[in-house]
Symmetry: C2
Subunit: 334 residues, 2 copies
């Protein structure tokens, strides 16, 4: 004969080493577990006195509903997963923070999964979040490959913050106009009389490529293509030796490297060399001189990402890709 916990357990006495369940509360309060469920969620159909007694009992027992069981039944978790590949790039973590803020405002809770660039690791992190049945996924890393994104999108709404290397159908995206950002930089530098502008970029990442393209187009537009040159951070020394009066780095991290190089070699900034970064992250303010940098509207990007996720969760079908305008923040490095 099968025995339920209600029959075997001493009613009203929580088993030791065992979180109290809804059944414990029901037994102690002398009602059915259904009623406890209703009462705890403030649903109608529960007498005022009974409700009070149930809440009281739950409180005494320190009852907490089991999120796993609820999620299993409700088919949703109110969780948003955020995947990130760099905890050391302030721009990425600042995006995460803005996503968190927006998610919280929408009643969603954020779980972060972090994985570095190693093949497969990030895909594994995405899997882990999906396995937990997050209601949506925000990807803040261009290292998650298209196949993984596409597969993920079949399991949950996915928003990419930033660019993907190849177009991916079934996901939304939020990013800034990297070409425009690059143009703002070149225009600014040219306006300050700099012409020999070097571009520093270590990256085959999509945003890096777009910025590089924007840089080249802008140089061309100013008739400066003869000075256009791209190097990775390791080649800064050689490139600068060839003669440049300004550097546009693909992001603040690499701009910081350029400043370090200048410091190490006695180059004055902005005297000998103007330096511009991208992202306008905390690093831009850390730098000395403070870094002129292209600002991405992070706060808005986080909000839009969560909004797009919410729309998808609400049933919207088509893909949406939002491109926001960056702006240039001028500081001491130019």
């Amino acid at each position: 004969m099968p025995q339920s916990a209600q029959e075997t357990d001493e009613p009203g006495r929580a088993r030791v080493g065992h979180r109290p369940t809804i059944l414990d509360v029901a037994a102690r309060a002398g009602v059915s577990k259904s009623l406890v469920s209703l009462a705890l969620r403030g649903a109608p159909g529960v007498g005022a006195a009974t409700r009070e007694r149930i809440l009281q009992t739950a409180d005494e027992l320190g009852y907490r509903s089991n999120a796993l069981a609820r999620a299993l039944r409700e088919r949703r978790t109110m969780l948003v997963g955020v995947v990130i590949s760099s905890l050391s790039n302030p721009y990425h973590t600042e995006i995460v923070t803005s996503v968190e803020r927006a998610a919280e405002a929408a009643g969603l809770s954020v779980l972060l999964a972090h994985g570095s660039r190693e093949r497969g690791r990030l895909a594994g992190r995405v899997e882990a979040l999906l396995d937990l049945h997050v209601d949506g996924l925000v990807v803040v890393s261009s290292w998650v490959d298209a196949a993984t994104l596409q597969a993920a999108a079949r399991r949950a709404p996915v928003v990419m913050v930033g660019r993907t290397l190849e177009p991916v159908s079934g996901i939304d995206s939020v990013n800034n106009d990297d070409e425009l950002g690059a143009r703002l930089v070149v225009d600014h530098l040219v306006g300050r009389g700099r012409e020999r502008i070097l571009h520093v970029s270590s990256s085959r990442r999509p945003a890096g490529l777009a910025r590089r393209d924007g840089y080249q187009a802008a140089m061309r537009a100013h008739g400066l293509e003869r000075f256009a040159r791209v190097t990775d951070p390791a080649g800064i020394g050689a490139a600068l030796a060839a003669g440049h009066d300004a550097v546009f780095a693909r992001n603040d991290v690499e701009a910081f490297d350029v400043l370090d190089h200048a410091w190490d070699h006695g180059l004055s900034v902005p005297g000998d060399l103007a330096v511009v970064g991208y992202d306008d992250s905390a690093l831009a303010l850390r730098a000395r001189p403070r870094l002129t940098s292209v600002h991405q509207p992070r706060e808005l990007m986080g909000e839009r990402a969560v909004a797009l996720l919410a729309e998808r969760i609400g049933g919207r079908a088509g893909d949406r890709h939002e491109v926001l305008a960056p702006s240039l923040v001028v500081r001491g490095s130019t």
Copy 2:
């Protein structure tokens, strides 16, 4: 008459918009769900041919076991939750990375929850992880209050990386010897002929307090208590004006602020002012000149944190508190 999925569903045909379940695989392979479960987990008692067919079928259907259901049943998730309050302090994120590495090696998957210092937010993040039934919790933030830690420890093993403000029973901890670290700094500076050593510390955090105490004790040991002085970062200007030839900052972030101040006011480092940080984080290498800093064995700390968690999960009862020795890494700033 109740109908099971097996009866209502066309066998071998996954319902659209619905992840295939173990039942779908069972139906398609013509076996019971129990056998599918056994086969998928490589358990004995399944014929070779049958096993093959089942695996094949699962693969065709793209079956993924439902982690929520499994966790509900098995009472464990193989997840470790990590709580962090600052994504902008490299030391914290580097600790996270080392915990991740160690956890992965132990077959555990890490979920990060981030919350800033606002009252209650962090406690909420801890709750969120516990509600997901993480198998253990690593706390990398002294902002999580003692009551929250104690309550958490009743739900899952908890390891604190760093110090708690007040002693907390029921949790383990891993941290470095802050007093020793401070002493290393003072000894080093005195060895280089600096005596007027200022301590910069913004913080009422436990680690900050311990470093401050260590600093004061070390100054006393050198007969330099008359020069001992503590200020917060905002007061650097005034404090330096009072005459100091060295600064020991409570962490790299604040040491960086000191370097910035020096730069802004034309003080040469280490000529006019020697500067020492704490944590030996990525910031120490970013700084110019590069920062002398107290190294905490982050990699080891992450490993020990996960090891302690594993022990607790394995049933160990008593509290364990490990204190590791820091070391001084001397660079250009002194």
